[in-house]
Structures are given as structure tokens and as C-alpha cells.
Subunit: 115 residues, 2 copies
């Protein structure tokens, strides 16, 4: 199965840049989540300083790693109005649990098989 | 489906600590990968400075985020003998593509639903 959302394997600038690691467990009842997640992806790519995203889901567990130019880009996205509503719905409805880590990338490696 | 490998949602220390983000696409032919991945997980948890790991797989795409006390812990793991052999096999056999980001966590948030 090809995962179209794993797309940043080799399209990032040289460090330093920032990552936001978002690891989550969905609640069993999560009506509206999938649509909101897709909408957030559409909005995020339009944000100033957005560099890319890798996202993988396995049952109720998901990890989304987004890549950003700098900290202020991340803060602006955090405060984006529609995103704030989604964050609120996430806590009240969709997620049983999540953790979010904001980190500064110091070094990075890529590998791509020669075909 | 419960993912036993998503286990660090609330068991990490206060920042700063380090994350290693490993995003990968497996080759179609990847004999031996699953067993090696499990073995690496067993070895990693024994490493000095290892804090935890979140790992999710969706078809050929995977994201593994490991958490470490400091950079030297990451370098020691990188140089661990059996791990070096696995890295070599990863490039020669298992992965079509991967990216790895080493980053210093500056802030972190956790959420857990009250039940």
C-alpha cells in the first residue's frame, strides 16, 4: 500500500528547521475526525513556514510529524482560528490521549534506493 | 486496534530531551525486516539514555519516534554493533527510502481523557 502522506523523505532544507511530533490515540467514537484531519492538512500546507508532513495511522494510533521553518511558524499555526476549533474538538471528542513535542532539528539523513 | 508500541504519551521527563524521527518506506521484498525491527526495539530499550518509543506502521510506510536523554545516548545507539548491522541491511535490502531527523525537544504537551 502506498502512503501518499509520507512525502517528506527528501524534500526538506538543511537543518536547522523544526519538527512537531504529534502521537495520538483516537477515541472509539470519533465522528467528524477524519474530515477535520483532512481539512487541517489542507490548511497547514498553506501556512507560512510549513515545510512538509509525514503521517501514518495504524488502527487507533497515529503519528503525524510536521516540519516547519521556525518556531514562529509553529505558533502561528497553533493560533490559526479553524485549527484552534479543531484542537478543542480533539480534546472534547476525538482523542483519548495525545502527546505533542516541538523540537529543533540538528541533523538529518536521507536514503533513497537507486532503482 | 490497540497499538502497544505507542507508549510514550505521558511517560517522558520535562524538556529538554531528544527525539529521533525515522520515517521510512519498506521495499516490497523485505524478508527479515520484521524480526530485525523487533530485535532492535528490544536492544534500544536497554540503551543508556533511552526514554521511550512510539511506532506506527501503515502498509509500507512507517514512522518511529524514539526519545533520548541526550545526544551522546543517540550516538551510542547509532554505533551499537548489532544495530549497525541492521542499518546496513536496511539500506541494502529493506528500505526503499527513509529520512531520519535528530532534534532537541524544546516543549511538550500531553493530554489524557478523564474516564
Amino acid at each position: 500500500m502506498e502512503n501518499k502522506k509520507l512525502n517528506c523523505l527528501s524534500n526538506l532544507p538543511e537543518p536547522p528547521y523544526y519538527v512537531v511530533v504529534f502521537a495520538s490515540k483516537l477515541a472509539t467514537e470519533n465522528t467528524g475526525y477524519a474530515q477535520a484531519a483532512q481539512r487541517m492538512m489542507e490548511l497547514a500546507v498553506k501556512q507560512e513556514g510549513f515545510l512538509g508532513v509525514d503521517s501514518v495511522r495504524e488502527g487507533n494510533a497515529g503519528i503525524t510529524v510536521s516540519y516547519w521553518k521556525d518556531e514562529s511558524s509553529i505558533l502561528n499555526w497553533k493560533k490559526q482560528q479553524e485549527h484552534m476549533l479543531a484542537q478543542k474538538a480533539g480534546r472534547s471528542q476525538w482523542y483519548d490521549e495525545y502527546s505533542l513535542h516541538v523540537a529543533k532539528v540538528e541533523r538529518s539523513y536521507n536514503f533513497k534506493r537507486d532503482i
